[in-house]
């Protein structure tokens, strides 16, 4: 059996040397260049950001300006319609409660809601009061608009 055994031996001339030397990656920039480049690019992009920001601010200012120019016109129209509707509401309440003895419009059997203010003061009603004679859908729509805008 001893003749059959053959030991694995190194190749003739020996093994190649083990390659252990470090090969560093190729460097494109050195440290100072990287830091300066970081600051340079940041400064450049800050400038671009500023330009964009300024233009957005300008657009928003223009939108707001147009709204302010139209505001008196819209408010005047709204006020007129609002006062008409207040009168309609008061008439509707009077008509609705005409069979209730002792009922006075805007009060609870003659007892006013606001005692300390002069009688002629216009207390603007809340949405619920303003829409009390209207369809619920209209009220919900208005409330939705008011609360989410």
């Amino acid at each position: 059996m001893a003749e059959c055994l053959r030991q694995d031996m190194p190749p003739s001339g020996g093994y190649k040397p083990i390659y252990y030397k470090r090969i560093p990656a190729k460097t494109y920039f050195n440290g100072p260049a990287l830091i300066l480049g970081y600051f340079g690019i940041t400064a450049g992009s800050c400038y671009l950001y500023y330009l964009n920001y300024a233009s957005i601010q300008r657009e928003e200012l223009e939108r707001r300006s147009a709204q302010f120019a139209l505001y008196p016109l819209l408010l005047a129209e709204r006020d007129r319609e609002y006062m008409k509707q207040l009168r309609r509401n008061r008439d509707a309440e009077e008509d609705l409660m005409k069979n209730v003895k002792g009922w006075e419009v805007g009060t609870y059997y003659g007892k006013p809601i606001y005692r300390t203010v002069p009688k002629d003061t216009l207390i603007e009603p809340s949405y619920g009061e303003y829409y009390v004679h209207a369809d619920y859908k209209d009220f919900a729509k208005r409330r939705h608009l008011a609360y989410w805008s």
Partner: protein, 175 residues
């Protein structure tokens, strides 16, 4: 509702005037020139509204605002109808939020027409956001007087005798 029979409300006839029958883009297109043309009326109305905080007291001012705006849009219709409707169409259809920036060309045409015909120059973009001094003949509203309560506890007369404290100061360790 807090609106009683004693609350004076204007009648339907007092409040009915011809309103501006224009859509949003149309109003927006004319906003800057309208603001210049009706600057006095607008400022007067907003001053009244903010000073008195009551829509019932500013009806005449509000009607003046609407009247002035109507006259302005009549003027636009008379001389710059084509340019105006072109600009309105652009504002309406070029963007989702009626952006001014995408309609500078049609805007320039409209501006030129307004300048040539009525000498109304478009103000710079932030003009209506600025604080301005408004010269007016409106009397200044009286400041609200201090509230007087009928049943308030009467105070001591000014010449009441002030005795020294019977048990000394509450802060006896200080003085």
């Amino acid at each position: 509702m807090g609106i009683t029979k004693d609350t004076v409300l204007p009648t339907e006839e007092e409040l009915t005037v011809q309103e501006i029958n224009l859509s949003g883009p149309a109003l927006r297109a004319g906003a800057f020139h309208l603001g210049i043309d009706c600057e006095f009326e607008n400022n007067e109305f907003i001053l009244c509204r903010n000073e008195l905080n009551d829509p019932r007291k500013c009806i005449q001012e509000g009607k003046a605002v609407t009247e002035c705006a109507l006259n302005f849009f009549r003027k636009v219709k008379k001389s710059c109808a084509g340019e105006y409707s072109q600009y309105v169409n652009c504002l309406d259809k070029s963007s989702t939020n009626q952006d001014f920036t995408v309609c500078r060309k049609t805007q320039a045409v409209f501006d030129k027409c307004m300048l040539d015909n009525y000498n109304i120059e478009r103000p710079y973009y932030g003009y209506f956001t600025e604080t301005k001094v408004h010269k007016t003949c409106r009397p200044k509203p009286e400041p609200e007087p201090p509230t007087v309560y009928e049943d308030a506890t009467p105070g001591l007369p000014p010449d009441a005798e002030k005795l020294p404290a019977k048990y000394g100061s509450r802060f006896h360790w200080m003085w």
